[in-house]
Symmetry: C2
Subunit: 314 residues, 2 copies
């Protein structure tokens, strides 16, 4: 991109973080807003944990654990080993440095700061130029229904049960009463381009779309909104998207993704291994761009970002 553009990226965790790492190579970081899912947020041990926000911040700060894609590199685990000694809740593993982030966030929220304010403070402390914006300052909780246990919190499903159980329903508790964060609303209204990151459509992007006003804002600017398929070769790059899509009656393919996103985005970017689906996607009513979407290096991320911007830029 040579022309200055502003970009809003609807973001989950790891996949979005990797795409954002590419976008900030192509666009001035200050011109980027990551509008981040907070349906995964969990209060544990009294601490407010925002997994997707932290994954994005740590990734953009080049501080993320490269092996997991989340958490901090060079992390230590002293606090959790004590929790284990006490027989406490240890399925959600919190590194010592990562804990510092949750301590700070919880303290500031307790002082009355909004999640948007705290997130901005944390991002700036890491030297980020990208604006990291929670979808809402209100609490939205992604909850899933699983066999035996009924409805449980997202982290109980995703981490405690290692997304190894079938899901029969997903809902976003509190979403209908939540307000779109002012920074997110502003960004969606003014950005030149909106990108739907290759995050899980059902548990990362859907909670964003469930916040009143967000879906409408994106639908209204469908022509300049581009989505990247998180499904490659019928599988998710990471996480349970494939099982969730199938379990909830969707097709676990790039075509299935197109069916879900056709109303909000005019373009779907798919991986080369799915090139055969391009015609089907165009038939559904989305332009289809085929490229390398597996962001195994910053160079691939940057190239993918460029494809996204070129697809919908004037």
């Amino acid at each position: 991109m040579e022309a200055p553009v502003t970009v809003a990226v609807l973001s989950g965790g790891v996949g979005a973080a990797r795409l954002l790492r590419g976008v900030q190579q192509v666009v001035a970081p200050e011109a980027i807003a990551a509008i981040v899912n907070t349906g995964d947020d969990v209060i544990l041990h009294g601490l407010h944990i925002s997994p997707d926000i932290d994954t994005i911040i740590y990734t953009l700060a080049d501080a993320v654990n490269p092996e997991t894609g989340w958490g901090l590199a060079g992390e230590t685990w002293q606090a959790m080993s004590m929790v284990e000694r006490y027989g406490g809740v240890s399925w959600f593993n919190l590194g010592d440095r990562d804990l510092g982030t949750h301590l700070y966030r919880t303290h500031r929220l307790g002082e009355g700061a909004t999640l948007t304010e705290v997130t901005g403070e944390i991002a700036r402390a890491w030297g980020l130029g990208v604006n990291i914006v929670p979808m809402s300052d209100d609490r939205v909780q992604t909850r899933v229904t699983v066999p035996d246990d009924g409805e449980i919190g997202f982290q109980e499903y995703f981490v405690e049960r290692r997304h190894g159980v079938p899901v029969s329903a997903v809902r976003f508790a509190g979403a209908e009463a939540a307000a779109l964060s002012p920074a997110a609303a502003s960004s969606l209204a003014t950005a030149d381009v909106v990108i739907v990151a290759p995050s899980n459509p059902l548990v990362s992007i859907a909670p964003l779309l469930a916040v009143p006003g967000l879906r409408d804002a994106v639908v209204a600017r469908r022509a300049t909104t581009v989505a990247v398929s998180p499904i490659v070769g019928g599988k998710a790059i990471k996480g349970p998207a494939e099982e969730l899509l199938r379990g909830l009656g969707h097709e676990a393919s790039a075509v299935g993704v197109a069916t879900m996103y056709r109303d909000i985005a005019s373009v779907l970017v798919i991986d080369q291994v799915d090139a055969e689906y391009a015609a089907d996607i165009e038939a559904i009513g989305m332009r289809c761009i085929v490229t390398d979407t597996i962001m195994s290096s910053p160079g691939v991320s940057a190239s993918l970002a460029r494809h996204c911007l070129d697809a919908v830029s004037a």
Copy 2:
């Protein structure tokens, strides 16, 4: 002591912990109840921190940092270094392993456990036989009035301002509505001996006495209650007792301590350097025992404990 006895120890932090280390050498640990001040408890970063309880548990578990007398030996500080990076509240330094204790406590309290229950769980996880009993399961907050800032929390005075400012008043917010913990009440009713540990009379022992029923229970059994003076040679072994006593109109000496404790204890144990005060203390109406009270080793602690028990045992 050859005869089996049960002992209740009114406890602050470091001084009480060192005495308890001696008592458990002389009496079966299961026969000891430490009734611990919780007026110092603070909620910070969303976590419930109980400094005196933790100091006692870590000390009796031989896990305490020997240089400070509180906190854990071999501690790391990764979480707090992150809080500092964010410009957060870092004056109350929390080690990573210590944080695990606060995470566990906060989680269990959030589940509805009482502080007594959680404290017992933590103590047992450290292999302690001694019963560690909070004075109350209700929140009591020691608050002090200092120049310029007015009334502040105890930790803001003790840690943030390093007890370097004069105190014009102390109160125990919530004490009048707090219930003595059932375990503390039971122990005070049935113990053969009560020991008032060499803790700060005004901010460690006074909050205990402010919980309705505790003072009366001790007064009723004054004959079998013995106190150890925390003032030696006109100074506190540790902490701001000397300044506090003077500032609030008390005499900073073993005689001043006797004046404060004459109604609750029949015996005061003082250090050899204060032997000259023995007659004055007896004149006030307490028996006076002179021995080595500076617990620089477990052996001194055990000897001091034996003196306490002998003084009031049948």
